[in-house]
């Protein structure tokens, strides 16, 4: 079976790859591009551990084919920090103990970033429903919600950096 040639933009960098026609974007990222920050928890779009941002929208990369990324823009957890400088969400997750095992963390951070891009001041309920597609089994979500709230406040300029 001949492979598909794809040209796309990942975290701002132009990238080319070959993939099988039935290969998911998640598998391409992890197995072909060695970007293993996106995780597979279910492969069926139920857990959100593979969340990436595709053309500005958060999606489960396990439900997107590698071939579908052609000509589009992909943002992953690997592109979230600016060099050594963490994104406020990353910093508040770290300082607020909002992660335990850390397997859901990349997907939740990416999903939360997409939320704050369209709603700078979400309520607790809005955060809970936005993140309802991202399962975390360790934390009970309490510290995750609080970290998103405090990062959002900092990004709005209401508090100093944590």
């Amino acid at each position: 079976m001949s492979q598909v040639h794809v040209t796309t933009k990942i975290n701002g960098d132009s990238t080319e790859y070959l993939c099988d026609a039935d290969e998911t974007l998640l598998d391409v990222l992890r197995d072909r591009l060695q970007m293993t920050g996106s995780k597979e928890g279910c492969g069926t779009g139920d857990c959100g551990a593979c969340t990436i941002i595709l053309d500005g929208r958060p999606v489960c990369s396990c439900l997107v084919l590698g071939a579908e990324a052609e000509g589009r823009s992909v943002e992953t957890i690997e592109g979230m920090a600016n060099g050594e400088e963490l994104h406020p969400l990353q910093r508040h997750f770290l300082n607020g103990a909002a992660l335990q095992c850390g397997i859901c963390t990349p997907g939740i951070l990416v999903a939360a970033k997409a939320l704050l891009a369209q709603n700078a001041n979400p309520s607790e309920t809005e955060i809970r429903y936005w993140l309802a597609g991202n399962l975390c089994r360790c934390t009970g979500y309490d510290k995750i919600i609080r970290a998103v709230q405090s990062a959002a406040a900092e990004m709005r300029g209401e508090t100093h950096a944590a």
Binding site: D20, D22, E23, D27, R30, D31, Q34, M35, T36, G37, S38, K39, E40, G41, C42, G43, T44, D46, C47, T76, I77, E78, M80, A81, L86, Q90, F93, L94, N95, G96, A97, L99, Q100, C101, G102, I103, C104, T105, P106, L109, T125, I127, R128, Y129, L131, A132, G133, N134, L135, C136, R137, C138, T139, G140, Y141, D142, K143, I144, I145, R146
Partner: protein, 760 residues
Amino acid sequence: MPLDRDPADRTYKVVGHRHNRPDGIDKVTGRAKFGADLAAPGLLHGRILRSPHAHARIKSIDTSKALALEGVKAIVTAADFPDHPQVLEDGELTNIRYNVMAREKALYDGHAVAAVAASNPRIAAKALKLIEVDYEVLPHVVDVELAMKDDAPILHDHIRTEGMEDAPDCPTNVAERIELGYGDVEAGFAEADVVIERQFRTGAAHQGYIEPHACLANISGDGSGDLWCCTQGQFMVRDVCAQLNGMDVSKLRVTPSEIGGGFGGKTTVFIEPVAVALSRKAGKPVKIVMNRGEVFRATGPTASSAIWVKMGCKRDGTITAAQAELKYQGGAFPGSPVSMGAMTAFACYQPKTLKAIGWDVVTNRPKQAAYRAPGAPMAAFAVESIVEELAHTIGMDPVDFRLKNAATSGSKSAYGPTYSDIGLVETLEAVKAHPNYAIKLGPNQGRGVASGFWFNFGGQTAVTLNLNIDGTVALSVGTPDIGGSRASMCAMAAEELGIPYHHVQTIIADTGSLGFNDVTDGSRVTFASGLATIEAARNAAKVLCERAAKIWGIPADAVTWENGCAVPAGPNAGEFPPMTIKELAKKAGETGGPIAGHFEVSADGAGPSFATHLVDAEVDRETGRITILRYLIVQDAGKAVSPAYVEGQMQGGAVQGIGWALNEEYIYNDKGVMENPGFLDYRVPVASDLPMIDTQIVEVPNPGHPYGVRGVGETSIVPPLGAVANAVAAAVGARPEELPMSPPRLLKLMKEQAQPLAAE
């Protein structure tokens, strides 16, 4: 290793303060390497063929067509795990071998029957379809009480009921009967003013870790090799995989990856021995990653149960008798946690008489694995339901009723031993004083309380601490970090050595680099690896003092360690300025070589942890939906080394318990096939299901640890099932006897019993 001194006098510089975890940056940037994140040159991908039947004789397996497929490099079946003597000598090892690859019969839907290694995962999946297995489908049983009947389908011809003198000598699914207790319960019930009994049932819940099992095996031509995997115990994986594959234990080195959740479910092996066998056969590295369906169908959920509880009390609240019969099915092999259920059931209280009987039963379900306080939550659900009902019946506040009967420091536990210092009373008093206890409830709302207990464990532990040339410290522990334990180890080593937290770096060592450690279980890590870390640091400090003594030319016992420096012990020792750890590290080569401390122990004195939970719930009478309005956890941590991570353990355990109480269960069809093997239909709590989870840490120092630490990871899942059930009972005026309280069950309960209970 006893408590150092009166903890009230002790001030900590590092321990008990909030620090960022050493693995944190990697986990928020995607750099952390989990089980499935490793690759290797020439890597093959393994997939496992699983039985579609709940119970079937395997008449033959034909792999020839699959082997002929281009890209397929190796196939293994049970024939590749022959009868090595060390396996046959060990009953549990024999069961694990059967569980990782079915022989003669497939015992549950999802039981492994063959495995393929191919050049990519898609070819491996195609190859599975080409393997021809001839099954003879047999009658099956998945229900614990049906499996106990005389005419039930039998899983194993060799099982006879242990623990029964008059057990008939014929095959049975009842693997063991246990009994414990004291006093005459009939006399206790006769003395009671109120006696209540009920029959309860709980579903099988899965640990639900988000990371599926994953491993990468690389076995060389000389029979030695490496295994990378996500596990709660690399030494356990090494020992089991080596023995099942007939290797010397020394030939296999296991490196634990970051672990994406375990909760007990990664304290055994499933795919790891198979990857080793495939790699050896193919002569190439082989990676196996389970999908979510495999995780549900073929790893180890907890037991489902049927529990009968009867308790009696006097009008003043004194519990005069407590009796329980617990039936747990642990899947296709003996080993359900029923004995722990029986031991923990009444451990919060001091009933005057007690009798508990437990039955360990096998069924055509996956072999159960540990799940956070294994066996305890379902027993506590049953007991706490009756306790709440007794309190209401005699018109006593439910917290006061528990206080009246609470286990206390120095009291004899319901399961035998005498408690050391424990904090149950403190948790109850804190709940009573908390503002949540006084909030007025609205219509269709109810409030529930429940307490819980877990033993905690110590176990075999080895730790090594090495001093680096710049005075920083490299600490190696052998217990995988599932909740932030590396941060706590850094804190304890820094506290002992008098150096900053960030001067210690803790790693989880591979099996070739450190002595044996038991798996991360029993809430043991902060206690046992912590204790060993403290002792290793003290040993290193002793060496540091000897080196300073050598430099100063005074006796070693004339030097002590204070605030990160060697100092003369007293005025007679001589006048020398303090010598810092950095100076001593730099001079190590001239004063005797590398400076290290290590410690090996079978740790005792873990010290049990108690908790009390308070929950307000609201019921939608039309849909049967239950909403958790507010939730409070109060738990004794002994000494919270990392308070934020202690809170995290409490919150996470409580929410797992809420899921078990409300939604989570294995659902089987009439063929014994699991119908909900995915996160869409096996519904774990999501963010929008929950409120904030309030926490309050109580610190009653554990006399068995120098800082008073006791484990906190497991106790938090024990009370929620009962607490939520009690809240729902109060809201609807009918008592839930079956978990989960899914909407259909709650609607049925309200329809049948929708009236205020006599006394509630």
